[in-house]
Symmetry: D2
Subunit: 142 residues, 4 copies
């Protein structure tokens, strides 16, 4: 099957930028997190609030991430992020993000996320759980 | 010369955490950024506001970063971050961060930063610049 | 003249919410700041980056703000914010924000902002400056 | 009884500041939120994670807040915040924050918070609940 790719556009805001006038780099990871959520929301046809309930899980926390910052962005810039699932395993998946400004690749990011469930009511005791077959299918299959 | 290591303690706050009750992972990069600033402030004996003026440069933006999230942290946790300079080149340097909670390694991060100067009054046109010899010496030398 | 009103829609994201599952309230002020920027961008027909240069000023910092939080919002909610200029003085202006979710007023905010210029190259020495006549006219006049 | 006052010191960081070089004002509300948590933690002798469990409630969300920004702060500044409980009612309380830099009052903030409990497992259905007598006593009484 083909790889699932989702495109999202974001505006860089004044409050995302630092005294050098460019984006404060941790904000890129917030952008990537919104992109991954958008991908799952589009694939599953519901909001994150709904899909956490529907598939009875706690979330898909990042366990490994990397980013290369190639060109700076600043407030007022509209950027386009293309997010692609590049690996889909039993209880984890990998996403690549390409962020462009005016058609020029500005940031490359990648992340590995794990499908987790709370083991009990204790919020910090979470454990990897197999990704449901239906989700795997909607994300493009293994 | 020995490698420069700086230790910083941070409390994880309620507002740093997400609905899963654990830290929202982009916040770790804010923590790492504060650690790198602390390292430079301690090595140079002045605040960032002062050292940007003293060495006439715009900043030390990250061009590449990676992090592995091993154990979750949540609000109320006090974490210890050990930051070490692992490479010091002509106009860039590399730092590794080890974040522990109760003595257990929870996050490993690394980053490459470039010493940059604005080319003109235009805030987004920045260019790599050699790290001053005095700074290199204070950071432990090449 | 009629009062200028601008409407903006925002999605509340996972990373905007706290362990109680609802939005972390400082995020509302980030939303309001984006709304005020949007209002000025629409009225002046350029981005904030462009209008700071075009009118040669440093910004429009908030000097007084108040907000009432009536109904909680959470991730996945789409909210509508109506922002209205309610006062336009020599060097300051006042904006009211009404944020609704599903047609129900959820937050009411107000803010007073001052038009400021840097007195010199020193970033923290800023001073109120008369709002240019052209800007006053585009914002609906006094 | 005397009013409870708690003092906290914070450093303003690079990532808290905007392209004007001064703090991005929503960050002040994050500071105030940490101050209120610190006050409760000191009064109750436990972390927020612990006191939410010990007193079986969901949180103390802000329902009304106001702030006046008198003097700007920027990265590298160390500020002192004095937080005082000025009203303690059946299920709500009011706090005033005075933030100073080098002894000069820079920001004044006030907030009203409600003691709430989740009505069920549904995270957004929360309801005001009487503040426990023990908490009232530790906060200085009515």
């Amino acid at each position: 099957m083909g790889k699932l790719t989702v495109t999202r556009t974001e505006r860089i805001h004044w409050g995302d930028c630092d005294p050098a006038g460019i984006i404060y780099y941790p904000r890129y990871f917030e952008i990537f997190d919104r992109c991954t959520t958008t991908m799952l929301e589009q694939a599953l046809g519901m909001t994150k609030h709904q899909y956490l309930i529907a598939y009875d899980f706690t979330g898909h926390p990042v366990v490994d991430t990397r980013a290369r910052f190639i060109l700076p962005t600043r407030y007022g810039d509209d950027v386009v992020i293309e997010s692609t699932i590049v690996a889909l395993r039993r209880s984890s998946f990998e996403i690549q993000h390409h962020l462009s400004k005016n058609g020029n690749l500005s940031v490359e990011g990648s992340e590995t996320r794990v499908w987790v469930r709370r083991q009990s009511a204790n919020a910090t005791s979470i454990k990897a759980h197999p990704i449901p077959d239906e989700v795997v299918a909607r994300l493009g299959g293994r």
